[in-house]
């Protein structure tokens, strides 16, 4: 089983420096494209590989690049941005890549930038990833020194500048258009689409924003070809995927596995099964903003299409396992507290609706909730749905709530009937 993204990452050991990276074949993909691939060739190779965006939306990466105007209409300035603002609760896969093999990201970014002919690139990094910031800074410096970045890359005349930008710590910045606003020094509010960032992005110029894991796949696709990349997968989506499991499992962690392993394999084999005395009650398969799945879904293939068909989303591929001793109402309340706090305050449903949802859940937890409160929660899952709000934050927030109401409705009702949280004695 191949693990192209993580085979050279050894937790606990320092990250690969430039020399180490080159020893493992690093920057050979960059040399390859510079030796004779046109930007269009690169775009095509990535499109053919069926690489889908690893930030959660799962859109074909090569296709996304193809929307960048490559003629004069695109103008002289374009940007390539790595979205390293990993703030989805339960998600820590990009951190592994950033801290373990920073040059892999840098090489992927240079290739991606070349594919859209961008001359300026940014890494937008979550503020709390201090260790990643340090090694990225050093690695960018090394790459400049080695001629992989800067004025005349590998003597081809292609130019690319790369900057590390650390955010101020808002979940919203993970949304690509809010990230752009934040990078411009504005409030981290999302933008309406169209126009899409590919046409009018950072500073109003054509821009591609890709997730860290997505970009890390690029050098391997270039080196080994689209067919190889597709062959890594158990599903129609190309490549491997970094999966993660957290919760009351024996071995929480993150693993690079073929795209489409089953949830059962992940939890039972890789995460070592549930801790003694705990039963699996529900799973958020791809971070806090995805719908719960339950025991019945254990044999589900973890790829974009299969998870969607089961009523959830693969999201970031890093799952949170909820056990039977944890109150689903309290669990969801905790999430809604996060989402309400991270709402940017731009559109009414999110700004006013999420705090209401949070308060309703808290009153249920306190034992003062009513049947009407559950109805209101149910209504909010519809009112805050996609299209009703300005961006995907509130619809994402509603996913765990709506599925909790679907799968764990009894727990909600018991809070009302018993006028207390029935799990309370289990809280440690």
């Amino acid at each position: 089983m191949e693990r192209p993204l993580t085979k050279n990452i050894h937790p606990g050991r320092p990250p690969l420096n430039l020399k180490d990276y080159e020893m493992t074949g690093g920057y050979s993909a960059l040399r390859k494209i510079m030796a004779g691939m046109s930007p269009k060739d690169v775009q095509q190779a990535v499109q053919d590989s069926n690489l889908k965006g690893r930030g959660g939306a799962g859109f074909n990466t090569g296709m996304k690049w193809s929307f960048v105007p490559m003629d004069e209409k695109g103008g002289p300035t374009k940007y390539l941005i790595a979205n390293a603002d990993e703030m989805e609760p339960g998600t820590f896969k990009d951190r592994l890549l950033l801290e373990g093999n920073p040059h892999q990201l840098i090489e992927g970014m240079i290739i991606a930038a070349y594919a859209i002919q961008a001359n300026i690139s940014y890494i937008f990094l979550r503020w709390a990833y201090k260790a990643a910031a340090k090694c990225l800074e050093e690695s960018i410096h090394e790459a400049y020194h080695a001629g992989y970045l800067g004025e005349n890359i590998l003597g081809t005349g292609y130019r690319l500048e790369m900057y590390l930008h650390t955010g101020a710590g808002r979940y919203m910045c993970g949304e690509e258009t809010a990230l752009l606003n934040a990078l411009e020094g504005k409030r981290a509010m999302p933008r309406a689409k169209p126009p899409f960032p590919q046409v009018s992005g950072l500073f109003g110029k054509p821009t591609i924003v890709n997730n860290v894991e997505t970009l890390c796949c690029i050098p391997h696709i270039i080196n080994n070809g689209a067919e190889w990349f597709k062959s890594l997968s158990y599903s129609e989506d190309g490549g491997t995927k970094l999966y993660g499991v957290s919760g009351k499992v024996n071995k929480p962690g993150a693993w690079e596995l073929p795209m489409g392993v089953t949830m059962r394999e992940l939890i039972e084999e890789y995460a070592g099964g549930m801790k003694n005395g705990y039963q699996l009650k529900g799973v958020l398969p791809g971070g806090a903003s995805t719908d719960f799945l339950t025991v019945q879904h254990l044999d589900l293939k973890m790829d974009f299409k299969s998870v969607a068909a089961a009523g959830s989303r693969l999201g970031t591929g890093t799952m949170i396992v909820m056990d039977d001793a944890t109150c689903p109402v309290g669990f969801v309340h905790n999430l809604q507290h996060f989402f309400a706090q991270e709402s940017c305050g731009w559109c009414t449903p999110c700004r006013e609706g999420l705090p209401w949802v949070e308060k309703l859940l808290l009153s249920l937890e306190k034992g003062t909730g009513t049947e009407e409160d559950i109805d209101l929660l149910q209504q909010h899952t519809q009112w805050l749905g996609p299209g009703n709000t300005f961006c995907a934050l509130a619809p994402g927030a509603m996913e765990p709530l709506q599925s909790a109401l679907k799968y764990f409705r009894d727990d909600f009702d018991r809070h009302v009937k018993e006028k207390k949280c029935p799990y309370h004695h289990n809280h440690h």
Partner: protein, 900 residues
Amino acid sequence: MPTIIIDNIPYQVKAGSNLLEACLGVGIDLPYFCWHPALGSVGACRQCAVKVFKDEQDNSGRLVMSCMEAIKDGIRISVQDKGAKAFREQVIEWLMTNHPHDCPVCDEGGSCHLQDMTVMTGHDYRRFKYKKRTYVNQYLGPLVHHEMNRCIQCYRCVRYYRDYAGGHDLNVFGAHNHVYFGREKDGILESPFSGNLAEVCPTGVFTDKTLKQHYTRKWDLTSAPSVCQQCSVGCNILAGERYGQLRNVLNRYHSEVNGYFICDRGRFGYEHVNNVNRIRQPIIRNLTVEAVDETTLLTHLQQVINNRNLIGIGSPRASVESNYSLMHLVGKENYYSGISEDATFIERKIVDILENGGIHTPSLKEIENADAVIVLGEDIWNTAPVMALSVRQSVMKTAAREAMTQISTPAWNDAAVRERVQEDRGYFANLAITESPVDEWSTHTYHSVPDNIARLAFAIASKLRPELPLPEGMPEADLQLAERVAGALENAKHVVVISGSGPGSETLVRAAYNIARAVQEKGKTAGLAFVLPESNSMGAAMMKAPSFDKALQRIRKENNTTVIILENDLYRYNSTTDVDQFLDTCKSIIAIDSLNTLTTGKAHVLVPAATFAESDGTSINYEGRAQHYYQVFMPANPCIKESWKWLWKMKSLMAGSANGQEHHPDEILKQIESSYPQFTGISASAAPADFRIYGQLLPREPHRYSGRTAMLANIGVSEPKPLDDGDSPFTFTMEGYQGLPPAPLIPFYWRPGWNSVQALNKYQQEIGGPLRGGDPGIRLFDRNDKVASWWFNDTPEAFAGRTGKWLLLPQYHVFGSAEMSRWSAALDFLTPQPCISISQQDAAQLGVSEGHMLTIETDKERFSLPVAVRSDLVQGVVLAPAGFQSIPSLAWGTWIKIMA
């Protein structure tokens, strides 16, 4: 025109608009908050949701925000769809979770967009059972009151204040459900356009603080369409009265002039109407009891008017009707303008150019749509603020047009356009005496004395048209700048040149003409606008009466002269010694005015004049647009009358009768047309006094006007007969024609379901377009399309300092330089302390620093003020405050002495 199908009914709508504009445009009530016709769409509030259907088979549809959805031919949408209605109701419920239930004590109540939209969506019972979030309010100065708890986070305030008006000190802070709109800390709002926040805010966060001093609900106001009297732009306003006091001024939409916004001088400068300094009673000086009744006054006037040499002095702030009536009373040969010879010379040149120069003079809308603007000398920020706001729109719109084509985004998609535009701006060159906030938007700025600005302007014209003379000895830097400006004008399609009488330089006026004409000769659309000092300066100048100096020369040779001074404080426009001499020489001085001034202080007879709010009258703005304003209320004392009414009474006295024929304004305007061909067409600006709709008058009061039977109950229990001014189609009651009034006769905005100013949508032909039936006002210069044969070829010498002398130039202040607005306490508070400004080099030479007292000595005046040292002035120049009450009228461009 595309057709769209709304709830199964096809409508023709304007191409390029969005669904919300289309729905509102065809009269459908669709609630909204964050969208504003002047600010565009951003999709924040989610209030305007409608359903869009894929095709005829699609029954479920997709919920979209109508403000963010472009019109497509044949698109099927539903406003009445159950899901869409329920969502809109839900949005209100969300907004109401934190909105205080303080409507009864909120200033916005009764004219609140949030109230209207709440009722429109049908939201009633509250399901949110938790505490509301609260905020601390801020002190924002004397004009705007802040009450943040009422905020519904529509973001309009910051979008207006920052994006539209270019302000910096109002912003949005915080996040999630604790977003805060205010300043970084308490303090006076810096923008002179801050009052518009009260109209932009859909609820009571920002309200008119001056209204608060004498608060009245909208439905209790008696209002009429009026015209701002605070500068020569002539913004259309609505003025409201109750209990004999003028209570507030609101913007009155005019698509060609002020659009949706006015400046703070216009909005808050109305309180002279209520001031204790008003002349409320006829006064005959040196009687035992000076205040007299009308009969005594008329008897006395008969003596001093008849059998005397009678001369009249007109006024740039009095109406066309009043100026004409004075001229008619005294005879053309005895009628003088009342302003100095220097100012008359410049204004005469301006009128000559506008009448005969063959260059179009643009409306504010046309300035906004220009793709290159050049200002020569005039400090528009301080002398014509709303024109400055239009110049800002020009630079923004030009950049936006460019961006829109690049990314195929419609103009209404505000955030997307701004994102693309970034810091790009259209072309704007500000060539002015001093720095001003408009410099921030300009491509090129140049600060110097008027002669040097004129030289640069002549050089620009010469670059555009090499036959024109290039001033000699131009510094290389100036020549390069001229080259760059000319290049930018060459690249433009629609150029506007703005100058004015403010700097006191006729040379600048000529230079401005050369540029505009040179641009026009190149086949471009050229506009030439001149700012004048007062609301009716243009009307007065168009009468081409001799100056005050001519009156003074004449009176020196005459005796037994009675002078009638019409609404004019001669000391504002002429030197103290000249006015003193003039007034001392007159045998009798009759002053007709509304406020006591230095001039009325020397008059023998004071005739109380009505202010604009108590008058029907016409003023002519900078573009030659005659605009009629209507009486808002009748003064309690019938002795207070429009000046033109008094003058017609005096005319009767001359004929030997105390009760002559009454003349209505429209009749006077007709007479003006026959006396002065340059005013042809002006009578159409006023509705005939006998104009009726279905036999009905138009009510000045909304149908919800309250207290009519009670408000005078302390005087008598029977309801008095409604007043009747007889001069206009308006009545002082709530009864009358309740339909949509004609565009020039809109006394207030109200349509069923729309109590706030947003009702305006119902009065427009299309959203953001002209009013139904066409915008009011008659442009008087448009009749002339002949092209003059002249160019101006004499260029001035370069400025050179003189030993021991300084060139005196004006510093205007938006608050302080206008005569009437200083009687508003709030604006008086904002007026800066007057000072004399000199350059750093001169300060060093004179050995003075900031705050030292300096004395200025001109030929005729001498006064002392603290000094301000500035970096934007050249050596050898001194700036004195223009138009300040405490400072005598000064002759700009003359050489004066300074004593430390």
